[in-house]
Subunit: 256 residues, 2 copies
């Protein structure tokens, strides 16, 4: 009996979707962590260089790694790290002569903080690559229609490929909008129109009304694709994509 | 006028305590971040090696970095990473033959996660060193009485050396217990006995009643030391320490 239940556990854990879910939730947690590290770096380093505030994390970290004091500042380095914003920052740094000096040990700590920010980005790239490959295997049809990371998030919300395949389109459309849905059901007001699918880049160019319709169109095809991935294992996504593209075109042509 | 206010800003920012406060709050945030990374690593890796659960973060990360599959496990490596617990883990790993295989790409991501955990510990060590040196300069008397990190936390709560020096002992005793104090004032119940000072290792061996008295004794001497650090700049902490040690001995001899 023990051996049997062991075998069951093995099967449950070795299903390919379990590690994917670990990877996508790690990716999301690292997003949070990057935010914390960025905030600490920004607040601390801006004692010495308030000119950098507002820069994105990557450019900011690159500059911290290369700029100990205003003597070591070059326009070239700033432009390489921050593009056009770098030119502006260079002018402002050069124009401000009142600046406290940063200590040796303190700069070392700040550099390590900036290095951490960069390493976290690299970790996310590795996770991204792994998610792309593994979710492509687990959900070949679904990932033909939408980005691997969005597919992985749907999988995370569902819990398994099999469970995702049992969901009707309306559920898939609202996966990730559980809180908003609960609020709607309890307190009234507008129902949510999308959850995870809000991240589809195609929704970016659409009006508010079009977005809801787009999310529904995607959800409809995703639910069919997920069933193929879970049960028939046949590749049908090319046809689904064709139909989906047509529906999208119709929605985007409509005035509102 | 602009030049004048610029000068003022320069003075405000170049006071030595501002970077210390940045360093200690970074240290505390990195604690949080390490917890998040550890949790992700543990949850993911335990699909393959549930035997590691409960290990501390450092040992856990070391093992993840060295153990791709159960074939690469050696007793020596586990003992080096986790001490006596490693021996137990080795037995359990060898005894369990049902184990899913970890993929190449997936292990790469897990290794990077473990590497991140280790790098964060190193960042904390650098911060720790910097805090030790800088708070020793800003608060030589206070750090003669208590650990630099606890002194830095008091400084963070106060906002500046000057402000810390204005606090009576009763305030210093409760710095960091603001929430508990508020709860007490609003809803009644027991008042808090200590805030940041709870972290004093000396409180570890004391009874509940002794702890409150110890915190008060420390707070009394810290408030005198802080005033010397802010105003007279004279070193008086050796005498304070002598008196403090006597008071501590009396408290610890009392039965409760």
């Amino acid at each position: 009996m023990l051996a049997e239940s062991r075998e069951e556990v093995k099967i449950a854990y070795s299903t390919a979707d379990h590690p994917i879910m670990q990877a996508i939730s790690t990716y999301k947690e690292i997003d949070k962590v990057k935010g914390i590290v960025y905030e600490r770096m920004d607040e601390w380093y801006s004692i010495y260089f308030p000119e950098l505030q507002g820069l994105n994390a990557e450019a900011y970290a690159e500059i911290v790694l290369n700029m100990k004091d205003s003597e070591s500042v070059t326009q070239e380095m700033l432009e390489k790290a921050a593009g056009a914003a770098g030119t502006e920052i260079f002018k402002r740094i050069i124009g401000n002569s009142t600046r406290p000096k940063i200590g040796e040990e303190e700069y070392k700590a700040l550099r390590e903080l900036a290095k951490t920010e960069k390493d976290l980005t690299e970790l996310q790239n590795t996770l991204d690559k792994y998610i792309g490959e593994s979710v492509g295997k687990a959900l070949p049809n679904v990932t033909y229609l939408i980005e691997p990371k969005i597919a992985a998030e749907l999988l995370l919300k569902a819990g398994s490929v099999e469970r995702l395949a049992t969901f009707p389109a309306s559920t898939i459309q609202l996966l990730g909008a559980e809180k908003a849905l609960f609020k709607h059901l309890k307190f009234g007001g507008r129902p949510p129109k999308y959850g995870v699918l809000f991240k589809l880049p195609q929704l970016g160019n659409a009006s508010k009304k079009q977005r809801g319709r787009l999310a529904r169109a995607y959800a409809t095809k995703i639910s069919i694709a997920a069933r193929a991935d879970a049960y028939s294992k046949r590749f049908i996504a090319d046809k689904l994509k064709e139909q989906l593209d047509k529906t999208i075109a119709v929605i985007m042509e409509s005035k509102d």
